[in-house]
């Protein structure tokens, strides 16, 4: 395990580096620049930074307008507010017109912690991935977040929702690890079951893999950083190879990563599936780690889910 850093820090760092390289980059925020880490960019490039105040709908509209003049516009804010309050702006303008607006949505998930349920985005992946033309990326660590900033700016023409967290998370990927948009990253090979995870749950999954290994269960682990467009091939291949899947996300199990995987396997390769995530409930105040525990977003829960799915695999799909 490397240094503990948040994905929002990786985001801020990425914007600064990209800003040095690309004059066309503009960054916008909705009075949250110290939290989203766009303040790093703002200090270096004040004339290319626009703080529109606490106005997420206007944030998206202005970002759209800037993109119409050829800018790459990164619009930042808390994920709950940018994805929820500005959904219509994102759908009807940014996505419908396929504008080059990237949404840097920080403070996603339950790990926002003490601020409580109003500030914990647990539905944003669902809200964003359902919109045509939208792309959704959920980095697992700061290094991946920094690379994602470059990739979505330089390789993707059109809107991207980049989901970022508040709290520090362990480094999983290295500087040398490739970040390929739309391609799942295999972190571990295994034959009994595949865990498909994103964001902070990749780390929990890694711990689960180790634990299961001691019990003689061989687990394949995919870091599924691009939720949309999904790497269908990786999912289908994993389903064929291990014939049992577990998804793990810091999000409602409805409509998120688990929903996406089930849509694909139901159509292409039906195999038993278990989903680890928030189960149709709002969050609450507490320490991030306490909340992860309370809402079942832990390695322990992933291990349990693996055992459940292996049982199903045995009864439903006798080989």
């Amino acid at each position: 395990m490397g240094k503990m850093r948040s994905t929002r820090e990786g985001y801020g760092e990425g914007l600064l580096l990209l800003g040095e390289k690309n004059n066309n980059l503009v960054v916008l925020d909705a009075d949250t620049s110290c939290s989203t880490k766009t303040d790093i960019f703002a200090r270096k490039f004040p004339h290319r930074f626009f703080n529109v105040g606490v106005a997420e709908q206007n944030l998206m509209g202005i970002a759209a307008g800037l993109s119409l003049t050829g800018k790459i516009a990164f619009a930042s804010g808390y994920s709950i507010f940018v994805s929820g309050k500005a959904w219509d702006q994102i759908r009807n303008i940014i996505c419908y017109c396929k504008l080059n607006v990237k949404i840097g949505a920080t403070h996603a998930g339950i790990t926002v912690g003490a601020d409580g349920a109003t500030h914990q985005a647990l539905e944003d992946i669902a809200l964003m991935r359902v919109i045509p033309n939208m792309n959704v990326v959920v980095p697992c660590d700061a290094v991946e977040a920094r690379k994602a900033v470059f990739t979505i700016a330089e390789e993707i023409q059109g809107p991207v929702y980049l989901r970022l967290g508040r709290g520090a998370v362990p480094s999983i990927t290295q500087e040398s690890t490739p970040f390929i948009f739309g391609k799942a990253l295999t972190l571990n090979e295994g034959k009994d079951v595949t865990i498909i995870a994103c964001g902070i749950m990749v780390w929990e999954s890694l711990k689960a893999v180790e634990e299961l290994k001691e019990e003689g269960i061989s687990v394949k682990l995919l870091n599924f950083h691009t939720i949309k467009p999904p790497d269908e091939e990786a999912i289908i291949q994993a389903a064929k190879q291990t014939r049992a899947l577990v998804t793990a996300e810091e999000h409602q199990i409805i409509g998120g990563l688990g929903g996406m995987v089930s849509e694909i396997i139901a159509r292409e390769m039906p195999v038993p599936l278990e989903m680890v995530g928030v189960k149709n409930s709002f969050g609450e105040s507490g320490e991030a780690s306490e909340l992860m525990e309370k809402f079942g977003l832990t390695a322990k829960e992933i291990v349990k889910a693996v055992k459940r799915v292996l049982k199903k695999k045995k009864t439903i799909l006798p080989l």
Partner: protein, 270 residues
């Protein structure tokens, strides 16, 4: 173009609107007819644009925030030469580039951005004007809003931002026809005092009769001369203007005329 010619053009455009809507059997005549002179002034006098090169990089931008009034924009674009007038009669039909509300994805020349969800055009215009400022471009951004649309909170977020960034390259127009879908603005949701509102938000505010060509042109000229602020032109208009039985009737917000009504309208539009 002389005022007389512009006025003649407005009548042509009104005839186009009625004919298009009769053909499409649905759509929004009221707000198209109330904003006809404003739109004609923009497309045939004010805007720096080239219908032969719709993506000309140096063009001024026009953002139609009240997307439901696209019939008037489509007619102006066709008459200006962006596309063949015949195409107007595909409005709202399957596979048409003339969507019920403008869709950028359909690539109709002259459409800068999709619209239809009210309240968004001014924010987009603010962003667009900011982008021009950032690149030291002298182009201007124009935005047409409805008065009912001013109920939307986002308009006022954008109004704040436009003044904050001192966007004197931005000129918004309110088509102040006094009616929204459910009736009079005064009864549904009072937006007055409008002039004071925009003034207090830091805008250069000009009030005009939105059907008098010279007043419209003077207002756009005054907006161009403003050095520090964005300008809003509050254009007092009549919903359904030019067709006696549509004038000031809220019911004609979103209803197409029948064949018989179209004939009556065309007789008046000469």
């Amino acid at each position: 173009m002389e005022n007389k010619e512009l006025e003649k053009k407005a009548t042509q455009i009104r005839r186009d609107i009625v004919l298009m809507l009769q053909e499409s059997k649905s759509g929004h005549p009221g707000g198209s007819l109330s904003s006809t002179e404003i739109m004609v002034a923009l497309y045939f006098s004010v805007l720096k644009h080239d219908p032969q090169k719709p993506n000309w990089i140096e063009r001024d931008r026009f953002i139609l925030s009240k997307g439901h009034s696209c019939p008037v924009q489509y007619a102006c674009l066709a008459r200006a030469g962006y596309f063949n007038r015949e195409e107007l009669f595909t409005l709202r039909k399957l596979n048409s580039r003339l969507q019920g509300h403008p869709g950028k994805d359909k690539k109709l020349p002259g459409i800068e951005v999709s619209s239809g969800s009210l309240g968004q055009g001014l924010s987009i215009s603010v962003g667009n004007a900011l982008g021009f400022k950032l690149d030291n471009k002298l182009q201007r951004v124009y935005c047409l809003m409805g008065d009912g649309e001013l109920d939307e909170g986002q308009i006022w977020e954008a109004a704040m931002a436009g003044a904050h960034y001192r966007l004197n390259n931005l000129c918004a127009v309110v088509d102040n026809n006094g009616l929204q879908i459910d009736g009079c603005l005064k009864e549904v949701m009072n937006i007055e005092p409008l002039r004071e509102k925009w003034n207090s938000f830091g805008w250069n505010t000009i009030e005009i009769d939105g059907h008098k060509m010279q007043e419209i042109l003077n207002a756009f000229k005054a907006a161009q001369e403003e050095k520090n602020k964005p300008t809003v032109i509050i254009a007092h208009t009549i919903k359904g203007k030019g067709i006696s039985f549509m004038e000031n009737v809220a019911g004609w917000h979103g209803k197409a005329p029948s064949k018989e009504e179209t004939d009556r309208a065309l007789k008046e539009l000469v």
